[in-house]
């Protein structure tokens, strides 16, 4: 019998789609349910933020950094602050560094909550998302008391942070952490160890360690392949050396090493580690000022500098070139999501369409970070 003539379908998972974490587009060539290739198409969220820096100056750019990755706004703030401080040689007071770490780790928990919640919702379970958002709302309430905003914080300044901890905030934060740890266990019992969920995630989108390094993956995506690389431990910055915490890595317990389940579990464990760091920071926070003296018309010396920090998505790099005037010459941000988009095309061969959604969710792609 002669072979049946079949055709490939070219589908468009367009920019308007309920599950592509932001405005992304995929051109999917599929043979029925099984995909041959999923070509990502980015750029729908490009806002020229790096160019805007050249117009608004150093202090004025801080609120724009929130919009680079609005889920991890504290980290982007910290990145810009660190880049300017390194160039101008400003030292942040000790208490200011502690405030930065506290805000950043709370933001990391919030970002990971959103990531695991959205992943559960993409797989089909609707309740873990609302539970994760409920916990995130409580963190947002805390941060609202601290800096006045719930999403685009603009909390940090060049030389420290803008507001000190309000009276009574430390107790509220510790009470929240006491509430959060059992809720994380409950969340795990609800969805993380659910057999259907594990079956959906295990062995999907396996990334070998060599591939991960070649494709420039960072953060939980990299650590899930077994590579223990965390900027907080390997290129320490701020006051992270003063805290004791672990860096969770994937171990291929549920499937192959580097599959979606590893990425998911690394994020869950990182939330527990952040909770540890927060407890230590809130206990050990010293007194003193939180903001160094920085001129209002800040003019760093001409030159360039690069800093790296561990944001919710991974190793975020900030590159700043200054020409000695009050406006930067060039700012560049290197984000983890951009690299993750690159690997999707390679991984998608042989996956089913349902798995493509799982893959995108497990790589924790946030669209504004890709396009800036």
């Amino acid at each position: 019998m002669s072979t049946l003539h079949t055709e490939e379908m070219t589908l468009n998972m367009g920019p308007q789609h309920p599950s592509t974490h932001g405005v992304l587009r995929f051109v999917v060539r599929a043979d029925g349910e099984v995909m041959r290739e999923a070509i990502p198409d980015v750029g729908y969220l490009h806002r020229s933020i790096e160019k805007i820096a050249e117009k608004v100056g150093y202090h004025g750019f801080m609120p724009y950094t929130d919009r680079v990755d609005y889920v991890c706004a504290m980290f982007t703030n910290q990145g810009w602050g660190m880049a300017c401080e390194k160039l101008a040689g400003i030292e942040v007071p000790h208490r200011g560094e502690y405030c930065r770490v506290i805000a950043a780790e709370f933001n990391r928990i919030a970002s990971h909550l959103l990531s695991v919640g959205a992943m559960a919702m993409d797989i089909g379970a609707v309740t873990p998302f609302t539970h994760a958002i409920r916990e995130r709302e409580m963190i947002n309430d805390l941060i609202e008391e601290l800096c006045g905003a719930r999403l685009t914080f603009n909390y940090m300044r060049i030389g420290g942070v803008a507001w000190d901890l309000p009276p009574g905030w430390r107790e509220k934060a510790l009470a929240y952490l006491d509430h959060f740890d059992p809720i994380l266990e409950e969340y795990n019992a609800l969805i993380s160890w659910n057999k259907i969920y594990i079956e959906r995630l295990a062995n999907v989108g396996v990334i070998t360690p060599a591939e991960a390094v070649n494709y420039n993956l960072v953060g939980p995506n990299l650590r899930a392949c077994g590579i223990k690389w965390d900027i907080r431990k390997d290129i320490p910055y701020s006051v992270y050396p003063e805290f004791e915490f672990d860096v969770p890595i994937g171990d291929g317990h549920w499937g192959k090493l580097g599959d979606s389940m590893d990425r998911y579990v690394v994020r869950i464990r990182e939330m527990a580690e952040s909770s540890k760091i927060l407890r230590q920071a809130l206990q050990k926070i010293p007194g003193g000022p939180v903001l160094a003296k920085v001129a209002r018309n800040f003019k760093p010396p001409a030159g360039e500098c690069q800093i790296r920090l561990e944001s919710g998505r991974g190793d975020m790099g900030w590159y700043l070139v200054s020409d000695g005037s009050g406006y930067p010459w060039r700012v560049h941000v290197r984000t983890g999501s951009f690299a993750a988009m690159g690997i999707i095309q390679k991984l998608s061969a042989g996956l089913m369409i349902a798995d493509l959604v799982t893959l995108i969710a497990s790589l924790d792609v946030i669209a504004p970070e890709i396009d800036r």
Partner: protein, 396 residues
């Protein structure tokens, strides 16, 4: 039904020369209208409101509570909204098939109500192949869903339609095989016959008659969920992948028909399980008044079915979706072999104890109560750990 008709003719309400067939036909038509318009369709609407409230409490939020008392009229508001929408028929679609598909799916939802045993005499037609009729007409959804997927002229809808067809057709097999243990034990396919073979007390239900029927009940429930396109098997209408699957191109009332059929199917799933395994309308004989007994029996039946509907909503809120190949694996590699084992096991059981073994009933009931106790202990454990405010009131 027959007794009711004979009662009416004998009382002379229609005059002496009335033909019994005509009267029977009129009574059947009126009762069908009452059942469909008064029970089936409003149920399909109300369950949408109930599902949203149940989901919302599971998700720590409130659900619709503004339109009418506790939001009870939300489904009416949704219906009116959908009716007022523009009826969009895509240009390139196959218009006759596109329009017919929702009606076929609705048909699959409407036909089983003819054999729904509400009480010992409230049944439209006590067919002697009742349960077989029920499972076969619910399979008509395949035709409607495939038509919808194909006629929409949309690749995403096509994927949804094909997935759904494969799913429903596959899960017919474990569902049918799981009905066999009950048929073996009663020797009849008629709904009333099966219910009469059980007693009103839990240890006399077929659920607890022997371990094979217990497993068969679970498999039947899960397969019925799969046939009704409910989570964890709602891949055809997977919201996060295919927007609305086979129903993407539909808008307005046509769209609502698909979902009314799905919500209404919950009752049918519950009715099948309640009839076959939970003793149907059986109620202890407390009064000689026929009408009062009928009302109590109907209430019992409805309570059992509504509990199962609630469990379906609860499952939908808890579990993630199963991927299409895993769905097929589950059906063919797990459910079908286990259903065969159940069938053979029940056959051996019936051969050994033709009149049933009531001791096993008590043992199984005790096991189920123990399971319930373990479940309650876990629930209390999570309540205590979370330290969130406890609030028993379903209204808010």
């Amino acid at each position: 039904m027959e007794t009711l008709v004979q009662h009416l003719i004998a009382s002379g309400a229609f005059g002496k020369n009335a033909s019994p067939h005509l009267i029977a036909a009129i009574v059947v038509f009126i009762m069908s209208a009452v059942v469909f318009l008064g029970v089936a369709f409003p149920f399909a609407g109300i369950v949408s409101w109930a599902e949203r409230r149940v989901w919302a409490r599971i998700q720590s939020r409130v659900g619709p509570n503004r339109v009418g008392p506790q939001g009870f009229l939300q489904w009416l508001a949704d219906g009116v909204k959908h009716v007022c929408k523009e009826d969009i028929i895509p240009d390139e679609s196959d218009a006759p098939l596109f329009k017919m598909a929702p009606y076929l799916v609705m048909l699959a939802f409407t036909l089983p109500w003819a054999v729904m045993p509400f009480s010992s005499s409230l049944i439209l037609a006590d067919l002697n192949v009742g349960i077989l009729y029920m499972t076969s007409v619910t399979a008509l959804t395949v035709v409607g869903v495939l038509m919808a997927g194909w006629a929409s002229n949309d690749k995403w809808s096509l994927i949804g339609g094909i997935r759904s067809a494969a799913q429903i057709v596959s899960y017919e097999i474990p569902a049918g095989l799981s009905i066999f243990p009950v048929v073996l034990m009663t020797g009849t396919l008629s709904m009333q016959g099966i219910i009469r073979a059980q007693g009103w007390a839990p240890q006399h239900w077929f659920l607890f008659a022997n371990p094979f029927t217990f497993v068969a009940a679970n498999i039947l429930y899960i397969s019925a969920l799969a046939e009704g396109n409910r989570t964890p098997f709602d891949l055809p209408e997977a919201e996060s992948e295919l927007v609305a699957g086979f129903a993407t191109e539909y808008s307005g009332m046509r769209y609502l028909f698909f979902f009314m059929a799905e919500w209404g199917n919950l009752f049918i799933i519950g009715a099948i399980i309640a009839t076959l395994f939970l003793g149907g309308w059986q109620f202890p004989h407390v009064t000689k008044n026929v009408i009062a007994m009928n009302i109590l029996e109907a209430l019992t039946f409805n309570v059992k079915v509504l509990f199962l509907v609630f469990v379906s909503m609860w499952i939908r809120a808890t579990l993630p979706r199963v991927r299409i190949d895993q769905l097929m694996t589950l059906c063919w590699k797990y459910f079908v072999p286990i259903s065969f084992v159940n069938m053979i096991g029940t056959a051996v059981w019936v051969a050994i104890w033709p009149d049933g073994n009531s001791l096993m009933g008590y043992i199984m009931l005790a096991g189920a109560i123990a399971l319930g106790a373990v479940f309650t202990q876990r629930v209390i454990y999570y309540l205590r750990r979370s330290r969130m405010e406890v609030y028993f009131n379903p209204t808010i």
